[in-house]
């Protein structure tokens, strides 16, 4: 079961790279290479033109005028002569021209020559690559013709399967007694697997939430310190009074939250992640159910091991109504989770700012709480309450 085994494949090179295909590829590379060769020739021509032009430009100012045939269009000439032999109009690019002397023109042309040389170098590198590619194709073709084979070995590791199986095993171990009572456990195998997966996901989420809580706590600390120092610096008495009011409100809030039943709190901050609470809640519920069914002792001992597992086992053994309700509850928890995750960004820290607390009247207590509840991802208020 889940043992890793070494598998292997032997494929002949000629089946992977048919000779025709390789030849085609080699041909393509050859074509590319010849293309590049043409480009290179063109560049070389440009360079030759450039050097000859440099010579010409250097030579022209030696005399005051040169008798030439002045081109008139492409197919006609006039007999004429060059004048102003030290004045050149040079294209700079983008149809901008400038008047230069012979020396300056030569400098420009030399710079042009340099850029051409660098182009030639780049092209040479490309051609070298192509040549290497061509030689590789040739060697592949010859190897394929010789009948070379490729051997590929790999270890098959079906880790997901193993994990799920081990998960189901773990699940079954604590409930041996119950398992005896159960009939057709294998039928529920798939269900179990799904539940174990769900459990894993929930754990991950819980861990993520814990991390976040820590982060938020730190955030809050920083904020508190900041606000304290700010307020100390700014104003004294009035602000302190306000702060006291706030704290009193917070104290009140804590008491309030403690006294309040969990359901109500849920309603209050609808989007709040209430993972642990709901779990505990469910657990209590379920133990109650167990008490009614007379299976109390066993589940309680198991309760210490883990909540989620118990829920799963219970759902199986208990009446079908709970069976139906339990997954639903889980689902609701998860949906709230995802919502929270999607909007976890920085809204929390914004709410923690002092402006919110500055709303000083006692009447705002409930409103502020409600407003925080109406906005998504407001675990902040709860943590604040618990902290202070």
């Amino acid at each position: 079961m889940g043992k890793s085994e070494v598998k292997g494949m032997v494929t002949s090179l000629s089946s992977m790279f048919p000779a025709e295909e390789v030849q085609k590829a080699a041909k393509m590379v050859e074509e590319k290479l010849s293309e590049k060769q043409n480009e290179m020739n063109q560049l070389k021509e440009f360079i030759a033109d450039n050097t000859s032009l440099i010579n010409l430009v250097q030579k022209l100012p030696d005399e005051l005028h040169h008798d030439i045939m002045v081109p008139f269009g492409k197919a006609a000439f006039f007999p004429g002569r060059l004048i102003h032999t030290n004045e050149f109009l040079v294209l700079l690019g983008e149809s901008y021209y400038t008047e230069r002397t012979a020396k300056q023109t030569v400098e420009i042309l030399k710079r042009r020559g340099k850029s051409l040389e660098s182009k030639v170098d780049a092209l040479k590198a490309v051609m070298q690559d192509l040549k290497a590619e061509a030689s590789f194709f040739d060697s592949t073709a010859s190897e394929a013709a010789e009948g070379l084979v490729e051997i590929r070995e790999y270890e098959e590791d079906n880790s997901t399967e193993r994990a799920s199986q081990s998960g189901s095993l773990e699940l079954e171990t604590p409930s041996v007694a119950e398992a005896d009572n159960k009939m057709g456990a294998s039928e529920d195998d798939e269900y179990e697997r799904i539940m174990s997966r769900l459990e894993e996901l929930e754990k991950e989420e819980l861990a993520a939430e814990d991390n976040e809580e820590n982060l938020e706590d730190e955030d809050e600390d920083a904020n508190a310190v900041e606000s304290d120092s700010n307020e100390d610096e700014l104003t004294k008495a009035a602000f302190h009074r306000k702060k006291d009011e706030c704290y009193s409100y917070l104290d009140h809030g804590q008491r309030y939250s403690e006294s309040q039943s969990r359901k109500q709190l849920q309603q209050f901050n609808g989007k709040e992640p209430i993972e642990e609470m709901s779990d505990k809640y469910k657990h209590q519920d379920l133990t109650n159910q167990f008490a009614s069914t007379g299976l109390t002792e066993e589940p309680v001992t198991k309760g210490e091991i883990s909540h989620g597992r118990i829920i799963q086992q219970d759902t199986k053994t208990l009446s079908p109504s709970i069976n139906a309700s339990a997954p639903f509850e889980k689902k609701s928890v998860q949906t709230s989770k995802t919502e929270f995750d999607s909007s976890k960004a920085f809204t929390g820290s914004i709410v923690e700012h002092t402006q919110n607390l500055d709303k000083s009247s006692v009447g705002t207590n409930t409103t502020s709480l409600q407003s925080s509840g109406s906005q998504p991802s407001k675990p902040v208020s709860r943590f604040k309450m618990q902290r202070k």
Partner: protein, 151 residues
């Protein structure tokens, strides 16, 4: 029989791909060259007519030395013009002579263009014909077998 047909089809396809299509490309390139020539001569004619109209006797222009480097040039006498008559020969003309020559030349170029256009059309028609032949080779034998069964 089947292999023979396959061979024939392959031959036809090769003929189209290796012979006819390159021919078309070549012919089109040749015709484009002649179009260029036509443009050159029509430009020259316009320029000469322009000179005539403005009765220009001397002219200053910029000469391209290569790589877009220009130098001023002076033409003291514009009455005589040297026109390319082909094969690297240039003939000294007066303006009226040049215009006459250019019109003759344009006529000739026109004829050449027409010739090439016809050539291109005929090659294209041949390509179409061969393609049709391939299509027939692929289809008609099947029909024949059907007929044979019917008979």
């Amino acid at each position: 029989m089947d292999s023979l047909r396959q061979e024939k089809i392959q031959k036809f396809e090769e003929f189209v791909d290796r012979r006819l299509k390159p021919d078309v490309v070549h012919a089109i390139a040749e015709r484009d060259k002649i179009f260029d020539q036509q443009k050159i001569f029509s430009d020259l004619r316009k320029n000469i007519e322009n000179l005539e109209k403005n009765s220009v006797t001397s002219l200053r222009t910029l000469v391209n030395l290569g790589s877009e480097v220009y130098m001023q040039a002076e033409v003291p006498d514009t009455q005589r013009i040297f026109v390319d008559v082909g094969l690297g020969f240039h003939v000294e003309f007066t303006w009226s002579e040049a215009l006459k020559f250019i019109s003759l030349r344009e006529e000739k170029l026109e004829r050449q263009i027409e010739e090439y256009t016809r050539l291109i059309a005929s090659i294209k028609a041949q390509i179409k014909l061969v393609c049709e032949g391939i299509r027939e080779l692929l289809q008609i034998p099947e029909e024949k077998t059907v007929e044979g069964r019917v008979f």
